[in-house]
Amino acid sequence: MKRNLKISVAAATVLVLAVSGSVRVASRQRYATAPKSSAKHISAMSKRITKPETPSTIVPKLVLHSQASYAGYASLEGLYRESVLVVAVTITSYDKAYRGGEPPRSLAKDPGGPIFTPVRAVVNEVYKGDIRPRDTVVFDQTGGDLGDTREILDGDPLAVIGSSYLVFLGSFPEFPKADYILGGPSGRYLLTNGSLASIEQPTRKGSIRDLLNGRSLSDVAAEMRQLSLTPPQPTTIAVQ
């Protein structure tokens, strides 16, 4: 179903990409053109009325680190256009973590896929998307506490309760309860005194994290406002 949706909605984009010689087909671009009355909006609304749960206070016996690879973004425009929501938020709580992914081949060997933590945040500013200030948004992060296990995704730790971030969020139809952060550390910036700080440092020169690290939020917000007024250009490959 997902593929069909992608093909039908993004067909025009694919055509443009083919004509322009660009080969990166961003499946999530469909959100940029999705009507605001789509099912996404409804699921976003339902996310806002889910009651938060008490964060885990269990001390984990086993701490496991994992590592991940991400699509690269070469510009704010690429990240912005792929996002469903772009918001400045303050983290308020974690919902109960869950184990996602495929069932393991052998439970004796492997507990299964990643632990995910739904992170709950109140919206301070909206730069893109059908949501308002003071609404609550929920996004999944990889890692967290489940049972006696703590999983930590190196380079992209859980957002800290009480801290504020600029986040670029996407949404998969398979997971209607929560959004996710585009590109992991590329899609989340700590906000301190009105400036953005990359989650993972150092950053690679020319990467989106490098481009946004240290910039003022007002400056980035102005650029995003301009992008919201400009029709999307054909996507280019993030060669960095």
């Binding site: 680190h65 994992s66 992914g101």
Partner: protein, 204 residues
Amino acid sequence: MPVREELTSCVQAANNGVYNQVGSCLQYSQGTTPQIGRISGRAVQQSGPGQIVNRNFSITGSVSSYNSAIRAGAAAWTSSPTAIRYTEGFSASSDDIYVGSYDGGWLGRTIEHPCGGTDFWVGNCTLSWSHVDYNAPNVDQHAQWAQQVSTHELGHALGLGHPFDLSVSSTMQSDLLDPGASLNLTAYDIESVNFNYPNWYFGI
């Protein structure tokens, strides 16, 4: 000091708590030999000169359309001048790749057992097996990624981390999987894995 001795002494210092992170070793190394300052491995499974390290990998999951690309990704390590020989099969020590949909922005994600995949040097920990998750909806964005992500994640399974040197060309760069890049291992990759499994680089 020759590169190997320099890095070895740094790693020993890291194990003794003088340096906390492998990154320190990289910085340490970069000071005198920037071209080699890229060792990002942690969990060393020592192999002697001339020895071959046989490893299994398996592919499971709700999406099967990437299987051939995943196999090619594994073959990249085997067909390069390294000690690694990957063959397909599930076992207690296989690196298991699960292909499906995950609510995350990542393409692939690896957790190494029992060493935990930490960025911190873990002393004598020997890798047993790894669990790799393959996020099909994200990988689906570009055909090349199917193989690149496989190579990258199996690099983690072999004990490699993300390069500390962010300017180096490597399949192990975390967020810069350029779809136009070569599907082959880079010189950096080969030297890195040969640091963990010193067959070619330090051996023969």
